[in-house]
């Protein structure tokens, strides 16, 4: 806060509140989460949590603004849940809390890293129950059912992303229309019956006491990967290896994107509407991003430090022959980086 010239920060976004106060929000659909949100008022010496009535109405917004008058000085806020709150706080001319949150979240404490590792472990163990169900005749939602059963048995406190078991065609042209000309990943489960020969790109994220996991692998339905697919997988490993080679304190987000591209013959190995890597913390995907349309100017300003946690998710795609995608969570250490993901790439290895 000091570095950003801010005296008091008001946080209305649930992931920001969890980050700043350690108070996890229950996992809920967006409108319920918004209506039952807690608001944090943070000063250098104090963190106060308020449970306001829904802020869509003038009276609740005015009451919250009145509570904030107890905290003088320069005010920053992350978001306005309603226009009513924007109006109520207008006299304070709030600054954007985004930049200071980005700086703070870039480096996780060892306790936060352990929380992410724990969420990741539960997500991975649940996949042990899902993988045997990947066979012809089962529905994608059957995979979801097994996944849900196991994550909660293992102690998850929420599921944050509708689990993705995205069957992809071998050619982009055989899939749904996209504005990008690439695959429309990720698509949600639809009750589709799995067929022999399907290739599934999966992606899941859970919540454990406010901290997130992110898991992704490529699976084959009813067959062993063919030579071409195995070579795609080897290229995937090369790209991840090249990224891990550059990920160390002082490297930038842009350096990671450059390394990935170089390891893929100069072509970006990621979906054009996404990125090759993203941060993770109180959200499955949060800043920083590597390889987005923010470009070099923005991403070269983001400097990795010990405690930065990244999810590498390159995609190797050979149109007409499908591809391979998976996710590896890594944490930046003093000397480089170490993996938080601990899961095999079956059936590719």
């Amino acid at each position: 806060m000091g570095a950003h010239g801010v005296d008091v920060v008001v946080l209305c976004g649930e992931n920001n509140v969890t980050y700043a106060t350690g108070e996890p929000a229950p996992s809920q659909e967006p409108a319920r989460a918004g209506a039952t949100r807690k608001v944090a008022i943070i000063t250098p010496t104090d963190a106060r949590l308020i449970s306001p009535p829904p802020l869509d109405f003038e009276e609740a917004a005015q009451d919250l603004a009145a509570a904030i008058t107890d905290y003088p000085g320069t005010l920053a806020i992350d978001e306005y849940p309603s226009l009513a709150l924007r109006r109520a706080l207008a006299p304070r001319s709030p600054a954007d809390a985004g930049p200071l949150l980005r700086s703070a979240k870039l480096v996780k404490t060892s306790a936060e890293i352990e929380a992410i590792r724990r969420a990741q472990r539960i997500n991975e163990r649940a996949m042990d129950d899902v993988l045997p169900l990947v066979k012809p005749g089962l529905r994608d939602t059957d995979l979801t059912a097994a996944f849900f059963r196991r994550i909660f048995e293992l102690g998850a406190t929420g599921n944050t992303v509708d689990p993705i078991w995205n069957v992809v065609p071998s050619s982009v042209a055989d899939g749904p229309f996209t504005l990008t000309g690439h695959l429309p990943f990720p698509l949600p489960a639809s009750g589709r019956v799995l067929e022999k020969g399907d290739v599934i790109l999966n992606d899941t994220g859970i919540d454990v006491d406010g901290w997130a996991s992110d898991f992704g692998r490529t699976w084959c339905v009813g067959f062993e990967p063919k030579a071409r697919q195995r070579s795609q997988f080897r290229r995937y490993l090369d790209i991840v290896g090249a990224c891990r080679e550059v990920i160390k304190p002082g490297a930038t987000a842009w350096d990671v994107a450059v390394a990935a591209r170089q390891a893929n013959s100069g072509q970006p190995p990621w979906f054009p509407h996404l990125y090759v890597a993203h941060g993770i913390g109180t959200e499955s995907a949060e800043l920083p991003f590597c390889g987005t349309d923010l470009g070099e100017e923005v991403e070269s300003q983001v400097v990795l430090a010990p405690g930065t946690v990244l999810v590498l998710e390159p995609v190797v795609w050979e149109d007409g022959h499908g591809g391979y995608r998976a996710e590896e969570v890594v944490v930046v250490t003093e000397g480089g980086c170490e993996r938080l993901t601990d899961y095999p790439h079956a059936p590719y290895e």
Binding site: Q28, A31, R32, Y80, D142, A145, F152, L187, T292, L294
Partner: protein, 297 residues
């Protein structure tokens, strides 16, 4: 039609364009199914409604899950650069000339970007428009809520069987979520909640089926005062104020709907009504309300 209801309400409130960030609002006006993410998200313009053109535009890189009524040229691509995104929104026909632009949330960054991209526009409250349009449910919407209630009941049956078998909380939650997904529904309104109080175990479940919510709470062996909910539900009649019902009440539809204590009930509103250890979904009518969840045994 929900789009017509929104356009009518925009006309009534003299609003030219809506920029919607809340997924329930976007789904109401568009019918689109986009990937579900749990939790609150900061405002970003994910859906644009232009009154003069009666047009709905959606932030989506694909037409998968987008209804046929929304042509491909009404899709705009996502961007990680908020300035790029606002540029795409401002380029939508009818947005730049708008005088009154409704938003259902804001961030300091989007406020600044909208001020520079749409310098003539006054920002007004879109949530008031959407709340008015969404308040009462059509027969088609009621059918969807009933279908969601059936899934919530399947979750509850599985959960209560596990409770009676003495299962730990994690297993109870797990079997409830498993039963939901086995019914083909992969999105919960909230994760199952379990409260243990003496010898009583209360379970709350909520489901979003095709975006439409139903939730219920049951207690084994039964709530302490079951008559409280029965009495509260009986008071859910047209003309009553929320504060008079004597229970925890919120609206439901495409997710949770906020109802202030002063809100007056109208026929066609759907409420989630709860007391200690019990909750049901009811349809408000002129006379006796209709229970949309199965009767408590």
């Amino acid at each position: 039609m929900s789009k017509e209801a929104v356009l009518e309400e925009m006309a009534r409130q003299a609003i030219d364009v809506l920029l919607l960030g809340r997924e329930g609002n976007a789904r109401y006006v568009s019918g689109a199914r986009r990937l579900f993410l749990a939790g609150e998200r900061a405002f970003a313009p994910g859906c644009v409604v232009v009154r003069d053109h009666a047009a709905v535009h959606l932030l989506s890189a694909t037409d998968f899950g987008i209804p046929e009524g929304i042509p491909r040229h009404n899709l705009y691509a996502p961007s990680w650069n908020p300035a790029t995104l606002v540029g795409r929104v401002a380029a939508i026909p009818g947005v730049a000339p708008a005088n009154r632009v409704g938003v259902d949330g804001l961030t300091p960054l989007f406020e600044a970007l909208l001020a520079s991209s749409l310098p003539g526009a006054e920002l007004v409250d879109a949530e008031a428009v959407m709340r008015a349009a969404r308040r009462t449910k059509s027969a088609e919407e009621l059918a969807l809520i009933r279908a969601a209630a059936a899934v919530a009941e399947a979750m509850m049956t599985a959960a209560l069987d596990a409770v009676r078998a003495g299962a730990p909380d994690g297993t109870i939650k797990g079997v409830a979520m498993q039963a939901m997904a086995a019914s083909g529904v992969t999105t919960a309104a909230f994760e199952p909640r379990i409260d243990r109080n003496g010898g009583r175990v209360s379970v709350a479940v909520g489901v979003l089926r095709e975006g439409w919510e139903a939730d219920l709470t049951r207690t084994v062996p039964g709530p302490v005062r079951p008559e409280e909910l029965t009495a509260g539900i009986a008071r859910c009649r047209a003309g009553a104020a929320v504060a008079e019902i004597g229970a925890h009440v919120h609206g439901i539809g495409l997710g949770y709907e906020v109802l202030p204590p002063s809100a007056v009930l109208e026929p066609g509103m759907v409420l989630s009504v709860g007391t200690d250890g019990a909750r049901d979904v009811v349809l408000v009518r002129e006379d006796v309300p209709e229970l949309l969840t199965a009767p408590r045994s």
